[in-house]
């Protein structure tokens, strides 16, 4: 019968519901101003994620949700491009923002820069003189 939902349709709809529900809980948590409300929503969101995982696994085990590995050529290209970008990446050029110790900085710390370079007019004065 054409109009009847089979097991695949039913699981696919449940999976869509779990995805939508998870997004809705996420947005609600982001809007939560009160800690008890936020904590309760977090618990329910976690349940929703577990449901999504269970549904996905049921589908995957039955071959209803095949997962293909990433195409090797595309992966290699992306890795090489990312590597090249990483090699050439010098935040704010080479003037004063490099970390002399060579230790890792978070992006936030890197963007803050050293204290002596916080004044944006300092470099401008140098550029005018040269």
């Amino acid at each position: 019968m054409m109009n009847r939902l089979d097991d695949h349709d039913i699981l696919a709809d449940c999976l869509e519901d779990a995805k939508w529900g998870s997004s809705s809980y996420h947005m609600a948590i982001m809007e939560a101003a009160n800690e008890p409300v936020r904590n309760t929503l977090l618990q329910l969101h976690n349940d929703e994620l577990m449901l999504q995982k269970n549904i996905f696994e049921m589908m995957h085990q039955r071959g209803l949700y095949p997962v293909e590995p990433a195409a090797r050529t595309a992966t290699q290209q992306q890795t090489q491009t990312a590597f090249r970008q990483d090699q050439g990446y010098q935040p704010y050029g080479a003037t004063g923002y490099a970390n002399p110790q060579g230790t890792h900085q978070s992006m936030y710390q890197a963007n803050q820069g050293p204290q002596q370079n916080m004044n944006p007019n300092a470099n401008m004065g140098n550029q005018q003189q040269s």
Partner: protein, 76 residues
């Protein structure tokens, strides 16, 4: 007991929408579990229905404890 006093309008709207979603999901699980052929999926749908109903009750009691009468929003 009133842990959820001072709930914001944004929180109330989000929770109301979530109750609607959870109730609809519980109703669908109840219908779906009678249609599926696979007994394991049938059992999982029964469990999901219970979880969805519990979620709806939890969300509804949050509104009630905040003095925002969640009882009326639980009906689909």
């Amino acid at each position: 007991m009133h842990h959820f006093t001072g709930m914001s309008q944004a929180e109330k709207l989000a929770i109301t929408e979530l109750i609607r979603h959870e109730n609809l999901c519980a109703k669908k699980c109840s219908i779906y579990k009678e249609q599926v052929q696979d007994p394991q999926i049938k059992s999982a749908l029964g469990q999901m229905q219970n979880i969805k109903q519990q979620h709806s009750n939890t969300l509804g009691s949050m509104l009630q404890q905040a003095g925002l009468s969640g009882g009326g929003t639980q009906t689909v």
